[in-house]
Structures are given as structure tokens and as C-alpha cells.
Symmetry: C2
Subunit: 224 residues, 2 copies
């Protein structure tokens, strides 16, 4: 077998020639990683970044990074690097995620509170516009600027607030019924922090976040 | 350019022929994803899983999945699929992460509590053996089975408990000094939940977890 065998046939340069081709999973994942580091760098007041620095932080090799970025016309200046601001806007444009996206968060426990009080989502254009819980003792409590609402308001809120993403920070057993309600209400993206395997129609995207798996992955590269 | 141009020269089949070659980032990432879904499936009492189901849950196409798994001698039975238990142990073996790894968790806030009380790490062989905070009001509090300790005990605990991973669930400004202390104590893997860009020596691996970036990535595939 040759290395090429491992590449999906849809793998392509990021947005080369202004094409509207869909990026492959691999390219989109790398661009997302660059964006994460660039956003952090911006917050820390860095104006430029070299491909080597990007490589150190993302674990993608610097040749690959230079190739990805030159694919959409960005060339780092020798000894200076890339302009952070300009790269951030360019990657957001390519990922077509430059707008504002409204999130509904489910679960006002420790994880829900951690998510709601973090500005990690806000930095990338996601706004938590509603927090839900089924526990009547939590309903009405303020978390950040939002008051916790009861799940029974889900359908109304999704429509009124134009929710595009539902984030599930709930126990595993609660996740599937909630996913069903979200799908019924028309939400197309579910971000799942529980361990449930969610059954959803094909037009709905589920992303399950698993820090332990990320850690296994990091560990592999340390152990080998 | 050809698709092959996008493949790193180290990209390789997972453990084919019992080789000790290092997996490429892409292969290791896919195996980690499969492992996540398989672990969830196991918890839900599923004994077998098809490549199509794995594909639905991981967003990796089923041809790629069958190729990855056949690379280490696993072939699904037509109409039945793969044996979940056997695939879990095989992938753990390939990722060389089958053992028990001890974690020290920093930060006993909402996020720290959410991590400590979740069994997500435990399911993958990671044990949170110590929780640290600098807030003296939190020191001594019980979280799960551990009492919160003060950061000043870091060096002693890392040595006594054979800590291999430090998880930072602390504010961004606190992350770099803590990373320095961990490096000094000999910890080689840092799992960073803050937004800090951490400077560490080359032999130390930092993994920064960013749910917002994962979400951007998911959103891209929905929007296009």
C-alpha cells in the first residue's frame, strides 16, 4: 500500500481557487486546530506567529501547516511569521463559521455552570442564550446573565431564539430523550458531553466530546 | 497537486504486521474515535457493532473504518459486525494505553468538580488520584473520594502517586506557573482546559481541550 491509500477521495486543499468544495475531515480538523491556537495567541496579545510555533502548539508538522496556509494564499514572512488577526478571519471565512450562532445549554450542574461561565464559546461566535434544567430547585437561578429555565420551554425557546446548537451537559440516561426533543424542535447540531450513543436522523449532526479519548490520544504520542 | 500530497510521510496502517512504527496523527485520532464509540456501546450493553454504525457515530466513512480495522486483522462478520469487547482491547493494545494512568487535577471549581465526579476518565484507565486548589477554603473539602489539597503539595504528590498527567482546570492566568511546576516535578503530559498557550520543553506534551473549536468543526460539516 502507498500513503495515498489512507486519504479520503474528498480530501482537498482548503478553499483553493475560491472553490466551494467541501473540506475533508482532516483539513477541517487542522484548520480548527490552527484557529484555536490563533485565538489564544490573539488573546495573549501576540501579533504574529511562525509556522514552527503553530506546529509546537498544534502537533501538526510545520511543512503541512505552511502548505495548508499557502493553499489559501497566506504566506508567512521569513523571520516574522503570519499575521494573527488576518489568519483568524481567513480561517473563519473558510470554515464558514464567521457569524453568530445561538446555543441552548441543557444541565445546570457543575459542567453546565463551567460551560456557561466560560468565554470559550463566546470567543468563537457561539452565544449561550438559554440554560435548561429539569430540577425545579434550579429553575430561576441566575447563571452568568441567564436564568435557568425548565425543559418544558424547549420548543418555544428554540424557535424564538433561533437556536442552532443544543449542548447536552446532562447525565447519560437523560441525553436521548432530550436529543429527541431537540430534533423534534428542529435543532440540527447536538453537542453531547454525556456518554450516551445518540440515535438521531441522518440530517442531524452529533458531536460527542470526550476528554478521556483526547487524553488517550495525547498519551499515545508520549508513550511511543 | 494529488491527494497524496496531504499525507504526512509518517502516515501508516495501524500496527500492520505487528510493526512498532508510530501511528500517524490521523490514524491515532481515528482509532481514538472508534475507541470512544466502542466504550459507549459496551456501556450500553451492545455486543456487536457494524462499520456503518461506527461510521454514523464517528463521522469517518465506513470504507476507511473497514480498512483501518482489517489493517490489524479485524474483519466484521457480514450482517453481524464487529465484536465490541474484542475490538476495544485490540485498539487499547495498539494505542499502548491499556494500563492504569494516574492523574492530578488542578482546580476545584465547577469544571474540576465536573471532571472529578465523571467516570469518563476512569472508563479509559485514568484515575484522578489528587485534586489541588490554591483556595484555602476549598482545601480539605471532599470531592468524590479525594480531599482537595493545596498546590504546595504538588511535588510530593506527583512523586508518591506516580502522576503521569496533570489536568489544568484553572483560570488562564494560573495555567503557565502551574505548568512550570508540573514540568519541574517531572510530569510529561499536560491536559489544558484553560485558554493559555503554554510554554513547555519539547519533551512535554500539552493537549489543549477546546469544546468551542470542536463545535466549529461540527458546524462546518453541517453548514456545507
Amino acid at each position: 500500500m502507498t500513503p495515498g491509500d489512507l486519504v479520503s477521495p474528498t480530501d482537498t486543499e482548503p478553499g483553493a481557487n475560491g472553490s466551494v468544495e467541501r473540506l475533508s475531515l482532516g483539513v477541517a480538523a487542522r484548520l480548527s486546530r490552527y484557529l484555536q491556537v490563533l485565538t489564544q495567541a490573539k488573546k495573549m496579545g501576540k501579533e504574529t506567529i511562525s509556522s514552527q510555533e503553530l506546529s509546537d502548539y498544534t502537533h501538526v508538522n510545520s511543512t503541512q501547516i505552511r502548505r495548508d496556509l499557502s493553499g489559501f494564499g497566506k504566506f508567512g514572512k521569513r523571520g516574522v511569521g503570519y499575521n494573527v488577526d488576518s489568519l483568524v478571519s481567513q480561517i473563519r471565512k473558510i470554515l464558514r463559521t464567521a457569524g453568530q450562532h445561538n446555543i441552548a445549554l441543557f444541565g445546570a450542574g457543575h459542567l453546565g455552570k463551567a460551560i456557561a461561565s466560560s468565554d470559550i464559546f463566546a470567543d468563537h461566535g457561539f452565544r449561550v442564550v438559554a440554560i435548561f434544567d429539569t430540577d425545579t430547585r434550579k429553575v430561576g437561578q441566575k447563571i452568568g446573565t441567564s436564568a435557568v429555565r425548565h425543559n418544558s420551554e424547549l420548543t418555544t425557546v428554540v424557535e424564538e431564539e433561533e437556536i442552532v446548537v443544543g449542548v447536552l451537559a446532562v447525565p447519560t440516561a437523560a441525553a436521548q430523550p432530550l436529543a429527541d426533543d431537540l430534533v423534534e424542535a428542529g435543532v440540527k447540531i447536538i453537542f453531547n458531553y454525556s456518554e450516551a450513543l445518540l440515535d438521531v436522523p441522518p440530517e442531524v449532526t452529533v458531536h460527542t466530546s470526550s476528554p478521556a479519548v483526547d487524553l488517550l490520544y495525547a498519551l499515545y504520542f508520549y508513550l511511543t
